[in-house]
Every structure is written in structure tokens, then in C-alpha cells.
């Protein structure tokens, strides 16, 4: 009985490994990664070119470092988004999902396997691109190493959060809409959220009008906090601005922020995928 149970467990892990391996192969086959690497390579070449011509002052070097790191962060997120968005819909369209689910593999495990594999490959790309953006850029001013490490941790969580959200939305909306929607959220989400959450929005007017408006805007403010804000997890400009690292509690709170959205998206996604007719 126990031997058969162990065998089942082994088979389950093997199936999970196959799911993950499939994600890697697919990412390499689709050539998106190479496009990102070529773009990062062009940036590195540009930096070397600028270094030969001469970087006039620390402010310009700072701009280049910021651009390199921001480009790495952006490209890694976009690659993760594109990879995650096609995982389940493509397998359903190509009907390759059925032989996988015929194995002793629960739907929840399949979904989790996809999330782990996409997150892992997204993070690998992020670290590689971050290295390409950070290493060649001249650093002529002081930059805090502790903050750099915080950036790496928070961007890893950001990739995990994006993967979970993309997989969830891939079950609900068409692939292209999913990609466009989450790209907009990734790029403009922070600014839009800041606008809705800023006190400016409810500071005008007077008396009862102002009170009524304040109630509406406070409610709006509360609800916008349910929309994931990726800009909270991106501290690159803080780093290049020469500001110190976050305090322990704030850093922990940001980790919890990303983790909470990731877990919620995963739970909803697994639940939805288990109930869905294939």
C-alpha cells in the first residue's frame, strides 16, 4: 500500500517536472527570450559606446544606470507576461493538456506547476538582464548595496505576482486582451493608482460638498487598493536617487503585499481551473 503510495507521489512529481520542463522548452522555442537578450545586448553596446566617447558627469552615468536597470525590469516582466499568458490557452487549443491531465496529476498541481515554472524562468531572465543592465553602467556616485538586494527580492516577488495574475486572467479573458490589460497595469498602474489615492483628488470644494466628495473618494481610494500596484515593488529610481534602504518593517510589509496578491490570484486561479469544463 505504502509502496504504491510512494510510487504515486513519484509519478506526481515527475508529472510536475514535465509541466515545468515544457514551459522552459516553450520559452526557448518561441524566441521571445532571444529578442529580449538582443535588446539588452544593444543597451550594453550603447553603454560601452558611451564609455568610449566619455560620460561627462555623474548625473549622466546615473541616468544610464537607471535606464539599464529599468529596461531589465521591464523586459523581464514583459517576457514573463507573454510566457504566462499563453500557457493554459495554448495547451487547451492544441489539446496537449489532456494527455498531461491523464497522468496522476491534479488540475491544481498542474496549475501550480505552471506558475512555479513561469516564475522561475521569469526570475532567471530578470537576474540575467539586471546583471547586463547593472554591470556595464558606470557608477560614479554612492549607491546602497542593501537597497540593491531589496530591489532583487521585491522584483522577484513582482514576477511571481505577475505570473499568478496572468495565469488567472488567461482563464477569464482572451489571450491578447489579457496581455494588453496586464501590460497597461504594469506600465501605468502605479501612476493611475497614485492619482486615485492622492489627497489632491478630494482636497477641493468646501463644506458639505467637500465632505460628500471626501467620503466617495475615500471609498474609491480603499477599492483601488485591491488593484495590484507593481510600482510599489520597483525601487530602481529610489536606488539611483541615492536614497537609503527601506526599513525592516516596510520591506516586510512590501513582501507581504506581493505575497498576498500572489496567493489570492493563485487560489482563485486553481479554484476556477478545477471547476472549468475542459
Amino acid at each position: 500500500m505504502s509502496a504504491s503510495c510512494g510510487c504515486m507521489k513519484m509519478e506526481r512529481w515527475r508529472s510536475l517536472f514535465i509541466v515545468g520542463h515544457g514551459v522552459f522548452l516553450e520559452m526557448l522555442r518561441r524566441k521571445d527570450l532571444y529578442v529580449m537578450l538582443i535588446l539588452a545586448g544593444l543597451f550594453v553596446l550603447g553603454i560601452f559606446g558611451m564609455s568610449i566617447v566619455g560620460i561627462e558627469n555623474p548625473a549622466t552615468a546615473n541616468l544610464l544606470l537607471n535606464l539599464g536597470m529599468s529596461l531589465a525590469c521591464f523586459l523581464a516582466h514583459i517576457l514573463t507576461l507573454l510566457t504566462a499568458a499563453r500557457q493554459i490557452p495554448s495547451e487547451m487549443e492544441a489539446r496537449t493538456l489532456y494527455p498531461i491531465l491523464a497522468r496522476p496529476l491534479e488540475r491544481g498541481d498542474y496549475y501550480l506547476g505552471k506558475w512555479v515554472a513561469v516564475t522561475f524562468s521569469g526570475c532567471a531572465v530578470l537576474y540575467l538582464l539586471l546583471l547586463l543592465g547593472w554591470l556595464p553602467a558606470p557608477r560614479l556616485q554612492f549607491y546602497d548595496t542593501r537597497l540593491f538586494l531589496q530591489i532583487v527580492v521585491l522584483l522577484t516577488i513582482s514576477i511571481a505576482m505577475l505570473t499568478a495574475l496572468t495565469l488567472l486572467f488567461s482563464l477569464l479573458i482572451p489571450r491578447s486582451v489579457n496581455v494588453v490589460f496586464l501590460s497597461l497595469l504594469l506600465i501605468f498602474g502605479g501612476g493611475i493608482m497614485e492619482f486615485f489615492q492622492s489627497p489632491t483628488l478630494h482636497s477641493f470644494g468646501d463644506g458639505a460638498r467637500k465632505a460628500g466628495r471626501t467620503f466617495v473618494s475615500q471609498t474609491l481610494r480603499w477599492f483601488t487598493a485591491y488593484i495590484p500596484d507593481f510600482s510599489k515593488l520597483n525601487l530602481i529610481t529610489r536606488y539611483t536617487d541615492g536614497i537609503g534602504p527601506l526599513g525592516g518593517m516596510e520591506f516586510l510589509a512590501l513582501i507581504c503585499y506581493g505575497a498576498l496578491f500572489t496567493v489570492i490570484a493563485l487560489l482563485l486561479g486553481i479554484n476556477l481551473f478545477q471547476r472549468r469544463s475542459l
Binding site: 550603447g46 558611451m50 566617447v53 560620460i55 561627462e56 558627469n57 548625473a59 549622466t60 546615473n62 541616468l63 544610464l64 537607471n66 535606464l67 556616485q141 501612476g191 497614485e194 492619482f195 489615492q197 492622492s198 489627497p199 489632491t200 482636497s203 477641493f204 481610494r221 480603499w222 477599492f223 487598493a225 485591491y226 510600482s231 510599489k232 520597483n234 525601487l235 529610481t237 529610489r238 539611483t240 536617487d241 541615492g242 536614497i243 527601506l246 516596510e250 510589509a253 512590501l254 507581504c256 503585499y257 498576498l260 496567493v263 489570492i264 487560489l267
Partner: protein
């Protein structure tokens, strides 16, 4: 069986707990603002000027560190009706003295009348472009900046031949030897609004935005400038220049008591922030020093005019001690002593 049931129940409980946490999360997450800090190289005017004049910035075009940086560059394009000039306007001078000049081209004329010195002695308290004629909103002011070079070169300097001709035809371009146009600033206002929404700590954005609003000279625009500055002060309570600008606008609105309070706030903050001897550096520029001087002088003058002479005397002595020497305040003290 019980074990399986218990496991299932605890899993369900965990899910409910996570959902509950998520529903309550805005109480914490709304307070999480890791990118909300004051200062920083990307907002520093001196660093910004160095970046914008670098070869890298010309290659990168409009790409910059932050949205406020990108929009800041946009305002210059809008001011010049879309024609891209290589040199950036000295926005410090613009917001501080209402003076338009190009950076790095012509040094400030030491004999030219200083905006705030004029203000201190002139009761109208007006700051305007020194060389620009005033035109109604919507019309363009013509203003010639000697030697201002365009990003797209002239035919004589351009090695690209036909491609260069084509670019000069299809892009907004003016021969740099001809007088270039400055719009009246109305088109710039939305950019300053967006700039400060995108970065509420961008003090210069509030200053210049309020300055352009003030320049429209209507009561509504002046009220809008007061609201704009109120927001700026709420986001940057230590920025003495914002209080100074608010004082000027209040004065234009003839709300003299509020103007007096604003000038005093500006002067108190400036006195705290001013380095010993007013020594200028990359962080404390000549414009900071001029604004500090203007804040202290205006605080004393408005106290004398709309408050008590005794208090004005006390303020003048205190600020003179901070400044160490200032002919205007010294003269005023003598006059007050006689009175």
C-alpha cells in the same frame, strides 16, 4: 476519515483567513509608499541640468528617469511651439525671477535689475520677463535668444544633405539665427499639472506652474494658482519658495494678511535652511539665495505695511542677524528707528 475531514476543514479555514486578510489589506497597503521620499538625484535641479545637456540625453531623446523629467522636457518644446532647441531654458531663473534665458549661453548680467529686489521696493510686486512684451493669452510672444542652437542643425552645419533637408521640412524647425517664438504658456499648464501629479515632490513644477498661472492675470487663474500652491505646500511643507510664490499671488489678489503670513512662513523656513554666509553650492544655488533674501525682505516689508512696525523691526533685526549684512534691511531698520 476524520483526518481527511480535518485537513479539508483547516485548508478551508486557511483560505477564509487569506481572503479576510486580503479584504482588510488596504488599511496597510495604502500606507505603503516606498517611492515617496523627498530629495533624490532625479529631482535635483543641478543634476537635471547636467543630464539634459549631456550627449547621452540627446541620443536618448525624450527618455528620462521619471515621468516628471520627461514632462519637464516637453514644456520646453511646447514653449517653443514644437521647435527643439539644444539648450534648455534656465527654469530656475524663470520661476525665481520671471526671467527667460538660455543656460550656459549668456551669463547673468550683474547689472540687470534683480526681480526680487525690485519687488522689495516696488509695491506692485510684479515679476515679469524682463525683455518680453506682454501679450493677451493665445498670442505668441517673440523673444530672441542669442546663439540658441536647434537640435536639428542648419543646412550649413548638417552633413546629412537631403535627409537633413527632409527633417527640417517635416519637423517643427526654425533657423536659429532668426528670433524664436515663445508661446504664452497656456499650453504648458496641463504639463505642470501632470508633472506634479506624477511627482508630488517636484517643487519646481509647482513654482513654474503657479508662475504661468499668475501670468494669465485673471482672478480665476490666480485662485487656481493659490490652490495649486496649496497642494504643493501640503506635499512639500519645507519648500520655502512655494510660500514665497503664494505670498506674491495673495498680494496680487489683494489678500494682504494672507500674503504677510505666507512671506513670514517663507522667511522662517529660508532662515533655517540657508547655509552659513549664504554660500552657494550645487544644492544651494544663487536662486535659492535670492529667494531666501526676497522672502526675508518681503516678510519685513509686508509686516511694516500690513502689521505692526514694532514686529517689523524685530523681524528685520532677526533676519539681518541671519544674513549678516543686507543694505535694504539695514536701511529699513534706520527708517523704522526714525519713525
Amino acid at each position: 476519515m476524520n483526518g481527511v475531514g480535518g485537513k479539508w476543514t483547516s485548508w478551508k479555514m486557511l483560505k477564509i483567513a487569506i481572503l479576510f486578510l486580503f479584504l482588510l489589506s488596504p488599511a496597510l497597503t495604502l500606507r505603503l509608499k516606498p517611492n515617496d521620499y523627498t530629495g533624490g538625484r532625479s529631482r535635483d535641479e543641478y543634476d537635471r541640468m547636467l543630464r539634459n545637456r549631456s550627449a547621452a540625453a540627446i541620443i536618448l531623446g525624450e527618455i528620462r528617469t521619471s515621468m516628471s523629467d520627461i514632462m519637464f522636457n516637453k514644456t520646453e518644446l511646447y514653449l517653443h511651439s514644437g521647435v527643439a532647441y539644444r539648450l534648455n531654458l534656465d527654469y530656475d531663473a524663470l520661476s525665481s525671477k520671471g526671467e527667460v534665458r538660455d543656460m550656459g549661453q549668456t551669463p547673468a548680467n550683474p547689472n540687470a535689475p534683480q526681480g526680487h529686489q525690485e519687488v522689495a521696493t516696488d509695491k506692485t510686486h510684479e515679476h515679469e520677463h524682463e525683455n518680453e512684451p506682454e501679450l493677451p493669452p493665445g498670442e505668441e510672444n517673440i523673444f530672441h535668444c542669442e546663439g540658441a542652437d536647434t537640435v536639428i542643425h542648419t543646412q550649413a552645419k548638417d552633413f546629412r544633405g537631403f535627409i537633413g533637408d527632409l527633417q527640417r521640412e517635416v519637423k517643427p524647425w526654425l533657423d536659429p539665427s532668426k528670433p524664436h517664438l515663445h508661446t504664452d504658456g497656456t499650453e504648458l499648464l496641463p504639463w505642470y499639472r501632470l508633472m506634479t501629479l506624477s511627482d508630488p515632490h517636484y517643487i519646481r513644477g509647482y513654482m513654474i506652474g503657479a508662475w504661468w498661472l499668475k501670468r494669465q492675470r485673471t482672478k480665476n487663474q490666480l485662485e487656481a494658482a493659490v490652490n495649486f500652491l496649496k497642494e504643493g505646500i501640503r506635499n512639500n511643507p519645507d519648500a520655502f519658495q512655494l510660500y514665497l510664490m503664494r505670498g506674491e499671488i495673495m498680494h496680487a489678489l489683494e489678500r494682504n494678511q494672507e500674503a504677510k503670513r505666507s512671506y513670514k512662513n517663507a522667511a522662517e523656513l529660508a532662515a533655517k535652511q540657508r547655509p552659513a554666509g549664504g554660500k552657494t553650492s550645487a544644492r544651494w544655488t544663487e536662486y535659492n539665495e535670492e529667494d531666501a533674501l526676497a522672502s526675508m525682505r518681503l516678510a519685513v516689508f509686508s509686516e511694516r505695511e500690513f502689521g505692526s512696525k514694532k514686529e517689523a523691526m524685530a523681524l528685520a533685526r532677526r533676519y539681518l542677524a541671519v544674513l549678516e549684512q543686507d543694505a535694504i534691511l539695514e536701511n529699513l531698520i534706520k527708517r523704522l528707528e526714525k519713525e
